[in-house]
Subunit: 648 residues, 2 copies
């Protein structure tokens, strides 16, 4: 079957009802969005001022002052607006909507008569717009405003921001393209490509799709645009991120020739998401193969067990296959979010559980780790091993913060988290011509239509803490359709009942990780899943240097870690017993299941550094907590990969 004939459509009307994810979304709505509004308006005395809203006031000519912040500071406002849009769709809130309208009005006033919108160039260097695409993020910021505008329009029906971005896109379209007299440039940081396709899906304006296609296909062609524009600015040599060269921004070769995930991880994820979007719109089979190859490179050779991406701080990106150091990981929160975005697009193109598995890995680990339980502290970098002392002295750990921060000079991650989490309900279910796809487990409800009649599916579960899931159907009339229920890749033993009857020979019902339940459904029908969720010892591929001789503990989709708060310092001196006798119990303070296990602490027999005698093995109980929840108590060491006694 051709790719375009099997594309799924996400069910955006789903509602999260309870459980971990709903709880996190509540924190975003109640704490993070107000906190971030204050941050953007410089109302948090204890953190670095953002100046983002102030830049818009200055660009609108309503205040005097200088531009401050990163060259892409505008995008923090756009991402906040997008997050608000999703939140309003699920939880109307007039006060929040008024704040968003106020922000949108200001953004509109900062737009220039010709449609241009970017406070940095408007304030600082209006004569040199579009002269440094490689570094200066004008198209990136435009992309985020487009995404915000589409989301806000879909949530509220208000099109003021949509009109702003359509005028902006008209302006951009007049500047860039293959036509004579236009620049053949493309963004240093991808984002506008996927945004233009979202816009196209609302406007159906073919120019929007064509511009996205142009940006994707032009990238990496010779002569190299970034070199040409640098030369035009009078630079002899174009030095793009040292050792990394043009691969830093995935511009080393045209995307159709790319075989490995290279360079800045967030940029790569946004580009690859756009490529998958293009496949959805065009059915381009070759581009789909490119996506598959790049997906394989990313998740099978260059991804942390947490779904984190980016193996070094230099260039914030990929290095080489299997180079995944724990303590020097970059694993930017935004990169795991980008992987989630890309995974969703792949999943819509090809309903294969492998995409959902990676999305889950990212979500429950490297994404949720980006925020504190309270929602007011954030990780930008998400290492898999932290020693505060080492991070404090070593230059090669300078990017590692051993505890979450209130805000950042480069504050891309917190609003990215906000926009992902407020939109989480949109990722759980999809429709296809055959029926409904249940990609993820979360206490939730979704309505869809079969034969013009509404069907309600209520999913009840305490996932990810329990593997018990109950799907309950309510129909006005019986209907024939398929339920596609994902059996997660982490699950090695599942029991399924349909209307109380055990489903025998599950494998026969499985298609690419999805259980296909095709039948005539009646109201009151139900499906029960019992996904066995023992604690698993997970091994990395032996080529992963930093995980050699170690294991990670995982339960369901949740990767665990050791914290100093539970285990004392020198976590690397702990060794899991060969027969660890795992016990899972809810931690009274963190209120999540913690794992305890038998193990040893290695203690020196000899006070010297090197001795021919093996260290003493002192029996201890090792305690592990979910990785994403680390650093919510006293700061200290953390480690995901644990030494393990060699099994006999």
């Amino acid at each position: 079957m051709a790719v375009r004939d099997k594309i799924l459509r996400p069910c955006r009307n789903a509602v999260l009802k309870g459980g971990l994810l709903a709880g996190r979304v509540d924190v975003v709505r109640e704490k993070m969005l107000p906190y971030q509004w204050k941050a953007l308006n410089d109302l948090l005395p204890q953190v670095e001022p953002s100046h983002a809203m102030e830049n818009f006031r200055i660009a609108a000519g309503e205040k005097a002052g200088e531009f401050r912040g990163m060259v892409f500071q505008d995008s923090d406002v756009a991402k906040w607006l997008e997050a608000v849009a999703y939140s309003l769709a699920a939880h109307p809130d007039p006060e929040l909507e008024a704040q968003a309208d106020e922000a949108i009005d200001l953004v509109a006033r900062a737009q220039q008569p010709d449609g241009y919108l970017n406070t940095y160039y408007t304030i600082v260097d209006p004569d040199h717009r579009w002269t440094n695409l490689a570094d200066n993020h004008e198209l990136y910021c435009a992309g985020h405003f487009i995404e915000a505008a589409v989301a806000y329009y879909e949530a509220t029906g208000k099109d003021k921001l949509l009109q702003v971005v359509c005028r902006l896109v008209d302006h951009i379209d007049s500047m860039f393209g293959p036509e004579e007299g236009k620049k053949r440039g493309y963004p240093g940081h991808e984002e506008i490509e996927l945004a233009l396709i979202r816009l196209y899906r609302v406007t159906r304006d073919e120019r929007h799709l064509r511009l996205a296609q142009f940006f994707v296909e032009e990238r990496g062609k010779e002569p190299h645009y970034f070199q040409e524009e640098a030369r035009a600015r009078g630079l002899e040599n174009f030095h793009h991120w040292g050792r990394l060269g043009c691969a830093y921004s995935q511009a080393h070769v045209p995307v159709r020739e790319q075989k490995t995930a290279e360079g800045h991880a967030v940029r790569a994820m946004y580009l690859f998401s756009a490529v998958a979007d293009l496949v959805q719109e065009t059915g381009d089979e070759e581009l789909f193969r490119v996506c598959e190859t790049l997906w394989d490179s990313t998740v099978n050779r260059r991804m942390y067990i947490t779904g984190g991406l980016g193996s070094q701080a230099h260039g914030e990106g990929f290095t080489i296959d299997y180079d995944l150091p724990s303590s020097r990981a970059y694993a930017e929160t935004c990169a795991a979010i980008g992987l989630f975005f890309w995974g969703q697009r792949m999943l819509q193109l090809d309903s294969h559980g492998k995409y959902a598995d990676v999305m889950e890995r990212a979500l429950y680990n490297g994404i949720l780790s980006g925020m504190s339980l309270e929602g007011d502290r954030f990780f930008y970098v998400n290492p898999l091993e932290v020693s505060p002392k080492v991070a404090g002295i070593r230059q090669d750990h300078q990017h590692v913060m051993p505890t979450r921060q209130g805000w950042f000079a480069c504050a891309c991650c917190p609003p990215n988290l906000a926009r992902l989490l407020t939109s989480l309900h949109r990722y759980i279910y999809s429709r296809s011509s055959q029926g409904l796809h249940v990609h993820f487990f979360a206490d939730s409800e979704v309505q869809f239509v079969v034969d013009q009649a509404p069907v309600t599916l209520r999913q009840r579960t305490e996932y990810p803490w329990s593997g018990q899931v109950r799907l309950e159907l309510a129909l006005e009339q019986e209907a024939e359709f398929s339920l596609y229920v994902r059996l997660p890749g982490w699950c090695r033993k599942a029991q399924v009942k349909v209307n109380g009857e055990p489903l025998e020979d599950l494998a026969r019902h499985l298609d690419k990780g999805y259980l296909v339940l095709a039948r005539t459904w009646r109201s009151g029908d139900g499906v029960e899943l019992d996904l066995a969720m023992p604690v698993e010892k997970v091994y990395a591929h032996p080529k992963v240097r930093d995980a050699a001789g170690r294991i990670a503990l995982q339960r369901g989709p949740v990767v665990y870690c050791l914290e100093e708060a539970d285990n004392g310092p020198d976590l690397h001196a702990l060794v899991l017993a060969a027969d660890p006798d795992f016990v899972v119990e809810v931690d009274p303070e963190l209120q999540v299941p913690a794992i305890t296990a038998r193990g040893f602490r290695l203690e020196a027999v000899d006070p010297g550094l090197y001795a021919a005698c093996e260290p003493k093995r002192v029996p201890v109980t090792i305690k592990a907590v979910p990785y994403f929840i680390w650093d919510n108590r006293s700061p200290g060491e953390m480690s995901v990969w644990i030494r393990s006694a060699w099994e006999a």
Copy 2:
């Protein structure tokens, strides 16, 4: 007993006869010294020009041109001269001596009328001498010329360079000191302190000792000299090596208050050597305690198993206790050499085997690794684990060269190696009032005098490849004295015979690691040692993060490593069996004993990155070669710390 009453005197007249060390010294004499002479004279077309000799010609007014090289380029010439001096003492060579004389004549001509000697300031900035001691190495270069001058005078009796440095020291003494009108400065890079004490031992000029004392004691006092001199140059803030501050150059507190080895490792070693020298001259017990504390900090918490020092490239120095990463080690060849220097001084103060053990560790591992077998390629940084691919892409490995280099822009290490190796014969034996101390095992001969009569000791051994050592005495008349023979710390089982008679109850004869054989010796008497030299599995202290779960192989004083040339790639996927059945056999290509052992290679069962199934264990033979000899075949991976199966 007071420290000063038990000081040993090195026997400088010893002669290396054969074996590994003699062979290495031959290579230095025959290959390295001529090679380095060419390097200093820019006669090696394939390597970066040194310009060191050319700088002297320009400073002497004999050539036009600009200064080129590091601000301390002069010191490369000085170290070469010092190396030549030791070589001439052991192996007269008129041609080499003529080259050295020529170099010395040139240096003398470059000396300024007031005694000043430094080509950088003379050529580039003559008006600003002595204004940036923190960074600019004038006193450091002076120190190296002083050492060269003393060595050349001792070797040849020629005092031209000695006169040059005495005038230079007169000039320095007129500039620095506690007296009114003098600068209270001290070098950013220590070296002149120990050099002045060497000079004092030749000149007996108290000013030379006092100046050394001043430099040592003034360091770290408040107000901070480096800050004051920076302010005098118009700098508001003195930023000395980022996070490291004044500890970078051991100037954070006065040396008497220092308790841990901090900052740039070579600088620290040279300072601590000077402190030990001061104790030798002054008998200062408090300073001796300072040395003992700093020694303990260095070798028991901050030293690689190779004797390498310096855990990070930033600041080329120490970080915190037990932070000893393998692949990102700095472990500069010069730092291991500095540790050897300091160890020798401690050993003369306190004939304790622990100092000789560390010297051996450094010599046979982190020092000898600095040069290729051929003597024309050098390591500056000596990592304990190398993956050429990782080193090639990761910014945090930028300092790691996966193969030895022909020369360096900063070429401190090769001539430092040369001067150490040509002087090795001076380190083997010491005299005390009680007799002769045999610190090291090497095929060699030494003569000394007891009761006005000469005694010759001939040491026959193939050490470090064999633990069999025979000491043969030749005397003109019987004499009563003690032989102090070191039993190395690595040795767990030794048999000793005196004149063929087994020595029972060795422990009773042991004093701080030395076997004390006090008797009346007659010509023909002999001592036989049989030091059991099995392959040992060595464990690091469990606090050493990077060695956790791993072992190193050591045989005698020699640390072994795995190379890709013998074991294929992905060395970290190799696991030593719990019962490895070590076999030691001479490698036909490298001509040194190699170790083979039973082990496993872990191979992935699942092609993915993370899986709940343990990797397959494929039985393999693991081969290890001496660490110092790595990278003498095809470039590839190398690793010292090997994963090992958990012993039952």
